[in-house]
Subunit: 460 residues, 2 copies
């Protein structure tokens, strides 16, 4: 009998699961169900729609050639329930009759939703959240209004920084308001957050950290934002607010059918095969909690990259294959118009929590030789274990090569390399692309020298 | 007593050895002796001087702050002999008296020289070789003459391609004449060489392979070049010839003092500590034969990257430390004005010689999402072991990200990764820098599918 695979959700994880399942099993009956009215879109490109780097929201909405792959897609449809005994999915389309689908294997890729704290005034006009293509379109249209001069972005993590950069590029006055005492909290180190803040301020963005948005004020549309802390009350006039206050896993359906949910992370638990607690049911993407390769414990990745890799594994396994996903290493990149911020692994504060003794080194060095017209600096902060120099993480900021330095360190962590090992890698060299000695090798060399000095001291 | 370290040669290896020795030993007496009249220069940037991308040869000549590091440099000086018993180096400066230097540790970084076959007419005017900064300057000056319209580059390897690209950029007619039946012989696969040829021809360069230069004809200056093979005789008018016919290790001094020389490679033999066959004498850079990590056998690297890494190890060890150099993996990049050619590891033909059964996959895929204005394709050819998918090598061509794909594969080879492992690496993603699924991951996935299909067939 033909295997029936049903995939709920057509974001990065669902897409990847469907494709991988089809490649693994040429004859399986594969169906994807999604709430959106369009096939899919590229969430990470939404800031570029807002800032006009992409001409319109149509640029990031995409038709998937599912017909060619003989995959059925039900758009604008919600899965209301699953009958685990009968192996039936109950689908409610936006228009038309409810229907059911049988499955042999089920993959939940239900994603995440923007979490907005109950700030008074959060439903006023020109107060936006950013999750779907239509949100990007709405923000873009609002920002196109020349009377919108002052903008506020609530939340200083990746999406907040990216949206702020695009609004600044449009010539708006932009204020980022971050509740935590630093930008990109829980992601980058305190020290590196200062570097990031300086870089953002260099582009004219105002950064307020350690302050809470207390109220959004306006009649129909927003007029000002009140923020502060116990001892401070401030207000800022604004005509546009974007709430980039984080996301939460969509686990309503998973809870309903009693899949095991991580209490701490409020996301679906899976093993390295992407199997949930119920036989034949897989999950992948923003809705799951997965393994972190550095801490070897649960974490939320909630990024398109890991979602795609997890989706592939779920798809292959649902189609009868045998793939596994070892986990993520916190690889991360944020793009502003003028520079990138990247990280992989953990930072000093994380290491302290994990009681790992570390050595760190930070430097700025040219990515190409100083005599090349395209020479420019990148700033790298590397962290390694104090005893053996095992690489734990990297923070990076610069106009170029941030992504690749993140990737080198992601590979180093995956393979357990030390700072000493980085001395040996046969990195290629040509003046048009690199320095003879890469900035990453220079910062690893600093780590080695610190370790060697410590050892020499200890021997005395 | 203060340790005396003498380094012969101030190219990438010598420079790196001097710096590393100084860091390891703050008080050692370090002396560098070099034949050049200037401190050092950047050989890999010479083509950019010729093509005018860099304003003049001064851009690539550099003063090293040796005074700050308390390192002595004797310029324009040749080491004529070494007394191994007395540990004395005999130095002949271009002007002035001969002198001697005592050493405790000696590091030979004597580099390589352009090898020019005995072609009749090779000493005519406007026939150049390219090894030192002054050669680049001379070629540039000759090319600046508007009567120089037709140029010939003899040799289709890296330096030949780079010089040809720069001459083409200046509007010259350029013909590359390569003796072997393909471009970049012994470096890239036959199939990939066809791709490289097409790309070069796309920039207007004429490529003649499998033909030998028989004679260079002219009165004072070159007027034409005769080339062909047993059954073919052709001639081409030209006003400028660059002989990019390869390099050979400088081993005169090493031979004189009876260091062990590889017969096959005509270069100095060293172990992974960069120790030669004589106690206290180290060698690094273009003059040595070193380990290849893939074949686990001797090879010539003769590139600035490996030279720098080897020099560092020699410097540390000479200064009393304990570093080692495991070997190179053939990482390589060639830059033209419009695209890059890169490789790491071995190709099909190498693998065949080594009797390794392989699987290869080649694809062109966008480095950034198709909807981004900066999207462009890269072409990757990956090779892996047929049984377990262990990565053996990569060939790459494209306008961007060639270097980093080479480096990812260099890291993969260093750490023994398989195509399966590449599926798991937590590569970062942002539309401004990458696709969700990297071209490298896509081509690794093709390898996996081929292996799985073979396995499935074998099971039937």
């Amino acid at each position: 009998m033909t295997e029936k695979i049903v995939i709920i959700g057509n974001g990065p994880a669902g897409l990847s699961a469907a494709g991988a399942a089809r490649i693994k099993n040429r004859v399986a009956d594969i169906t994807v169900i999604d709430t959106k009215a369009y096939d899919t879109f590229h969430p990470c490109a939404m800031p570029f729609v807002i800032g006009g780097y992409l001409p319109s929201v149509d640029s990031i909405i995409e038709n998937i050639r599912y017909e060619m792959m003989k995959i059925k897609l039900h758009k604008s449809s919600v899965v209301e329930d699953v009958d685990l005994k009968e192996k039936i999915v109950k689908v409610k389309p936006e228009t038309g009759e409810e229907f059911t689908l049988e499955y042999d294997k089920l993959i939940l890729c239900t994603g995440s939703s923007v979490f907005v704290p109950p700030i008074p005034g959060r439903n006023l006009g020109n107060v936006f959240r950013l999750k779907f293509a239509e949100d990007a379109d709405a923000i873009k249209k609002a920002a196109d209004n020349k009377d919108v001069k002052n903008t506020v972005v609530v939340g200083g993590s990746a999406i907040g920084i990216e949206v702020a950069s695009e609004l600044a590029h449009l010539g708006k006055k932009v204020t980022i308001i971050e509740m935590q005492p630093q930008l990109m909290p829980f992601k980058i180190s305190k020290g590196f957050a200062v570097t990031v803040k300086k870089n953002l301020e260099g582009t004219g963005i105002i950064v307020e950290t350690g302050v809470l948005v207390k109220e959004i004020i306006g009649k129909d549309a927003v007029q000002s934002v009140k923020f502060g802390n116990d001892s401070l009350d401030e207000a800022i006039d604004t005509e546009l607010v974007v709430l980039a206050t984080g996301v939460r896993a969509n686990i309503e359906l998973a809870s309903k059918i009693d899949l095991k949910i991580s209490e701490k992370y409020r996301a679906i638990e899976v093993n390295d095969k992407m199997e949930t607690s119920i036989n034949g049911v897989y999950a992948a993407g923003d809705c799951i909690v997965t393994n972190n390769l550095i801490t070897n414990s649960a974490n939320l990745a909630q990024l398109a990259g890991p979602a795609t890799r997890q989706g592939r594994v779920a798809g292959i396994n649902a189609a009868g294959g045998n793939a596994s996903y070892p986990g993520n290493v916190n690889s991360f990149i944020v793009s502003s118009r003028t520079f990138y911020i990247g990280l992989a692994g953990i930072n000093e504060e994380h290491a302290k929590e994990l009681e790992i003794e570390t050595v760190t080194a930070k430097l700025s060095a040219p990515i190409r030789p100083h005599y090349m017209p395209t020479s420019k600096d990148i700033t790298l902060k590397l962290i390694a274990k104090a005893d053996d120099g095992k690489i734990l993480g990297l923070e990076a900021i610069g106009e170029e090569k941030v992504d690749v330095n993140v990737n080198y360190i992601a590979m180093a962590i995956h393979t357990g390399l030390t700072a000493y090992d980085l001395m040996d890698i046969d990195f290629c060299y040509a003046p048009a692309v690199s320095e003879t000695i890469y900035p990453l090798v220079k910062v690893a060399d600093s780590i080695i020298r610190k370790i060697e000095r410590k050892k020499a001291k200890a021997q005395k």
